[in-house]
Chain length 368, copies 2
């Protein structure tokens, strides 16, 4: 079968090649599930791996099949699989469990291992191919009614992990009823965070660079949230005009903003969730006494979040369903740039980060 | 009766004066408790208030009685008080409840009110006097066997609050068994944090400025912890040689260290607790991309902590008792500079921050 692969660490090595088809016996005990790939979303991680910045091939291979945002349909299951059945739509989790206590408790997203096992990223092949085999614990069933937007589950799971971390942390307060959130960033993650918070009834202000009129601003406002362009209203002005937030969700990728937001935008007892993977080397001067004092006197929290576990994928399915019921058609508006066929992978990669592109994805096979 | 008072906001206004004696009927419903003051500890907050930096007089008064670290003995109780009895040793909590939901749930330390009610600091008189009246819910009973070190309970409660916040936050991990902690700062708070973590069986590395041989270093080592002088071993070298920590407790008052420690010293899933009140205006350049990335990929948390509620005082009593049982005489070694009599208040204030001084306190009346 065909697959889009990369030689990890080698820029420009991405190619479409033939790879062996996977078989159910990849997992012992009759626990394999053969999935036919329908769609694969692309994001900045895929872009960075194709640029040779990171990525690791599976043991024994010298290439890595790309792709970690997937939607597929179960074709065949091993005799010991009861969780899914042929015909089920499924999304695969990205990180497989390692060996730490957190991996063994179902939280590989909190692993303390040094090495990760992540489909399409590190040591496990991804989904930019025709079929894959997984164990049922790593597959999330997607309701048929969400098939058109199912590809959004993986990025939604990252948002759910971040919000769940905030909720877990705020159990320290015994009562936490966040009224207002600020989402920094209006890309895919920022928009999905806005959605997940609006679904919870939180008042949301989402800040992006672009000045309205703009598609991303429209999408924010369509959720009953407020869009603010940081070009028009810098963060300090935003805080003065709108007041402080119980929750700040950072998804801009611009790290200096973190240190501005943690102080100015975050109210007492508040939590700032950091979700951006910032691989650069930016430095910034910060008012260290003031930030520290503000955190201390306000009992504030900052938490970093990466990846997601099964619970976050399940929460994502529920939020996608509620969003679809409450804001019909909104999720589909994020799917701005479908590209047909694995053979068109170059076109899909070229679209990443282009103006007007929210989500680009490859249609590997037609939806059932 | 006599009291050491300040005119808030006026440097050099501290004086010993006569004030009206308090009476049980200060609280309605027969809930007053009259306490005779035995000892009052001093710290940087008292120093800053006497310097006119902050502090607020109670409504109706133009002066504030100083002092928030106390040990006293109950002299008389109102008819509806069952919690304490005459002869009981007690320590008063510092912050009284305001109006926010957290105040009403017994967590005034997490108040979202703009104004605080804090004995000796803001809007309520302190304990640098002969007697005070309080409600029993604000009094913590101190076992007679801890009378000599009871004055340490208030600073210990601040440490307990910080550690408890870390524990509450780490419930997000379902399992958290911290093995190694780094305490930054070897002053009173740093030493008490070292004690509280050693009592919990955690391996502790405590960093101070001073080079051994030095009393504070000796006190750290006496707990079975490791003392490191940051003059001899800067933080990056410390991290390289000793590895990363599950918990970092910051108590130096030097804010640039926060941004160094949060990245280099803190391990995956770790928590850094900020406890220093840094009223200055220091600025520092930080590697913002690297700090953000490290927090994200490591699911790390930073939390600010201030004040303490009843639970933290109660935990403090238990930890003082265990410390006394396990490291007999250690707590008393912190009480380096007793000063006799309210009339000697100037001498006690002069000792604050002097070399070799860990804890200075006024002996207002002899221990029973």
């Amino acid at each position: 079968m065909r697959a889009v692969t990369v030689t990890p660490g080698v820029a420009g090595s991405t190619t479409l090649r033939d790879v062996p088809s996977p078989t159910l016996d990849a997992f012992s005990g009759g626990r394999g599930v053969l999935v036919r790939v329908l769609r694969v979303g692309l994001d900045g991680t895929d872009q960075e791996i194709t640029a040779g910045e990171y990525g690791t091939a599976p043991p024994g291979d010298d290439f890595l099949i790309l792709g970690h945002e997937s939607l597929g349909v179960v074709e065949e299951v091993g005799p010991a699989v009861t969780e899914v059945a042929p015909g089920d739509l499924v999304v695969a989790r990205v990180r497989r469990a390692g060996t730490s206590i957190y991996d063994r408790l179902g939280m590989p997203d909190m692993t303390t291992d040094d090495e990760y096992w992540e489909h399409g990223i590190s040591r496990v092949h991804g989904f930019l191919t025709e079929r894959y085999v997984e164990e049922p614990e790593y597959l999330i069933r997607m309701p048929a009614g969400l098939r058109e937007v199912g590809i959004l589950l993986e990025p939604t799971s990252v948002v759910e992990k971040g919000i769940h971390q905030a909720e877990e942390i705020q159990r320290r307060l015994k009562v936490w009823e966040p009224r207002r959130a600020v989402v920094l960033g209006a890309g895919t993650i920022g928009l999905l965070a806005t959605m997940a918070l609006r679904v919870r009834g939180v008042e949301v202000i989402t800040a992006g660079l672009e000045e309205p009129p703009h598609l991303n601003a429209d999408l924010v406002e369509a959720l009953g949230a407020t869009y603010v362009s940081t070009r028009q209203t810098p963060v300090p002005q935003m805080a003065r005009e709108m007041g402080q937030a119980d929750l700040v969700f950072e998804a801009t990728g611009f790290s200096p903003l973190v240190f501005e937001a943690m102080c100015i935008l975050l109210g007492k007892n508040g939590v700032i969730v950091l979700s951006s993977v910032t691989g650069g080397s930016k430095r910034v001067e910060v008012p260290s006494d003031a930030i520290n004092l503000d955190f201390v006197l306000g009992n504030k929290v900052m938490v970093g979040t990466v990846n997601a576990n099964r619970e976050h994928f399940e929460r994502g399915v529920r939020d996608l369903a509620v969003a679809e019921a409450r804001f019909p058609g909104w999720l589909e508006r994020l799917l701005t740039h479908p590209v047909h066929g694995l053979e068109s992978w170059e076109k899909a990669f070229e679209l990443l980060g282009e103006p007007g592109v929210i989500k680009t994805y490859l249609e590997v096979a037609p939806l059932p």
